[in-house]
């Protein structure tokens, strides 16, 4: 056995947009163990419910994470609506899911770019981010914001989006689909890209279940977990929904799953725009959550299952607001995927779980 070396990785590292620290225990070039250390982005958002009332807190949940921003405001709003027994209109529920799926597209396109950057394909990174701007343009056109746009609120959806605008969105996405196929082809079929990803950082189905992995990371190991299957909100009105799966378990499979999920999101948006009912988008919200009332809900974020819990205390402030985010579930999987990979592959393996440290640490 050769001598062991510990290489510190992060918190500032070119491949990571966010700070996380790993102590990589190496034997020659091979990682035998990875010890994560988090806490660089911890802010203490859950305790902020004591200072912000339940209608203001939706803006705080949006800022749990700038990438999954809309998803967090959606999960929080659904949870508080359940707590207070508010029924939102169908149109609002549809708009929420349409924008949540658009957020998933923006998140996955961002990730595909970062992955390309991770294995040194700068041009592909630029192209993925160029396509992502199409989605951000839609956000800006409808809500005025690009990444954090305060569209979801307790009681519904803050913007009335006309059917013409929605049809325009679908037309834009159809144009994007053709361009996106070229990028997807390069990612999935180019031999040099494949040689970086196939067989790297493998996780078996059993291991994925044992480590309670969630989201595309688990689906790439053939675990059929997807909160959208529960049909909360407008997801229940979809004609059919099948989670995107792959049985590869390696970096290539994780890329493959996310590549196909972007196309799946376009299909979901088109279907919901066809079916969207007319009506109001906001219902009035009055009163405070009852003392002792509790509610919980789950949501499929771009990175996997997110869990929301809230508890009322009779005042305008909630007694407790708890979020469990997908990346905190996936860190054990990331450590497992890192064992026995070469040091040069470490950045890419970390990227393929699509870590969101801001979510994890809140």
């Amino acid at each position: 056995m050769s001598k062991r070396t510990v290489v510190p990785f992060g918190p500032q590292h070119p491949v990571l947009p966010e700070p996380v620290h790993l102590d990589l225990v190496l034997e020659d070039e091979t990682v035998v163990n990875a010890i994560p250390r988090i806490g660089y982005v911890h802010r203490g958002l859950e305790k902020l419910v004591e200072k912000r009332d339940y209608t203001q807190f939706v803006y705080v949940t949006e800022r749990i994470c700038g990438i999954c921003s809309f998803g967090h405001s959606l999960g929080y709003s659904e949870c508080v609506e359940k707590l207070m027994g508010i029924e939102i209109t169908d149109r609002a529920a549809y708009l929420r899911v349409i924008f949540h799926e658009l957020s998933r597209m923006h998140s996955h396109l961002l990730w595909l770019g970062l992955l390309a950057d991770g294995f040194g394909f700068e041009a592909l990174f630029m192209h993925a981010w160029r396509l992502r701007e199409t989605v951000l343009d839609i956000f800006e056109e409808v809500t005025g914001g690009r990444v954090i746009f305060s569209a979801c609120d307790v009681g519904g959806f803050r913007q009335e989006v006309s059917n013409e605008t929605l049809a325009g969105i679908v037309a834009k996405l159809e144009r994007l689909r053709d361009e996106y196929r070229t990028i997807a082809k390069t990612l999935l079929e180019d031999s040099s890209v494949k040689s970086r990803m196939v067989g790297v950082g493998h996780i078996s189905t059993d291991k994925a279940l044992e480590l309670s992995m969630v989201g595309p990371f688990a689906r790439a190991s053939n675990v059929a977990t997807d909160e959208r299957l529960n049909g909360i909100g407008a997801y229940g009105d979809l004609a059919a929904f099948e989670p995107v799966l792959s049985d590869g378990g390696d970096c290539y499979a994780r890329c493959d799953v996310r590549v196909r999920e972007v196309l799946q999101s376009i299909d979901i948006i088109s279907e919901l725009v066809d079916k969207i009912p007319d009506g109001e988008v906001m219902v009035p919200v009055k009163g405070n959550p009852e003392d002792g009332a509790q509610a919980m809900t789950t949501l499929e974020q771009p990175r996997g299952q997110a869990f929301y819990y809230s508890k009322g205390n009779g005042t305008k402030n909630l007694a407790r607001m708890r979020v469990r985010t997908p990346t905190s579930q996936n860190i054990a999987g990331m450590v497992a995927a890192l064992s026995n990979v070469e040091l040069a592959d470490v950045p890419m393996v970390i990227l393929t779980i699509d870590p969101c440290i801001s979510c994890t640490e809140r």
Binding site: P17, L45, L48, S69, E133, V147, S358
Partner: protein, 174 residues
């Protein structure tokens, strides 16, 4: 654009931001906003960088990291605080684990408001940062102590210091 005398290389660090500003900093470098047309390159090495772009507020754990990156950068250097949190804590101002904006640990030269910031305003700040960088380089030339240090840096090959690179371009100004 005639005032931009050099290609500013930036280093980006996420203090305790929500990612919103970080992805906008990256978006500023990609084709739609294309900061590279001004010669802006994102580097991971503090010793290569001229401009330190910090997003998010400061907490106890990241304060030494931000300080270390700043100390590792060579003079002249400019710090740009990106977004409401980096400017003064933003929405997290009253959180128990937030000490405040970036200026609680290092001096800040430019503040970029917004939550999240827009890529246009990042470009604006970086261009303004180049102006500040030029002024700092000039001030260093006036101060012999700093000049000795930058010559030493250049002779050891650690980094072609910005002051030295500037010698040619700013000859008219002197």
């Amino acid at each position: 654009m005639s005032n931009v005398g050099k290609s500013p290389w930036i280093i980006h660090y996420d203090g305790s931001s929500c990612n919103g500003c970080d992805i906008e900093v990256l978006a500023a470098l990609t084709p739609l906003y294309d900061a590279e047309r001004f010669g802006v390159v994102n580097t991971g090495n503090p010793k290569h960088a001229d401009i330190f772009v910090v997003t998010g507020g400061i907490n106890d754990q990241n304060a030494p990291v931000v300080k270390q990156i700043y100390d590792q950068m060579l003079e002249p250097k400019v710090v740009v605080a990106c977004g409401a949190c980096a400017c003064g804590g933003g929405v997290y101002q009253t959180c128990y684990n937030i000490l405040g904006g970036v200026d609680t640990v290092i001096p800040v030269d430019a503040y970029v408001p917004g939550c999240a910031i827009k890529p246009e305003s990042i470009l604006d700040a970086v261009i303004a940062g180049v102006g500040i960088l030029d002024e700092k380089a000039k001030a260093m030339k006036m101060n012999p102590a700093d000049k000795d240090r930058s010559e030493k840096d250049a002779s050891t090959g650690a980094h072609a210091s910005v002051a030295d690179v500037d010698d040619g371009t700013n000859a008219d100004a002197e």
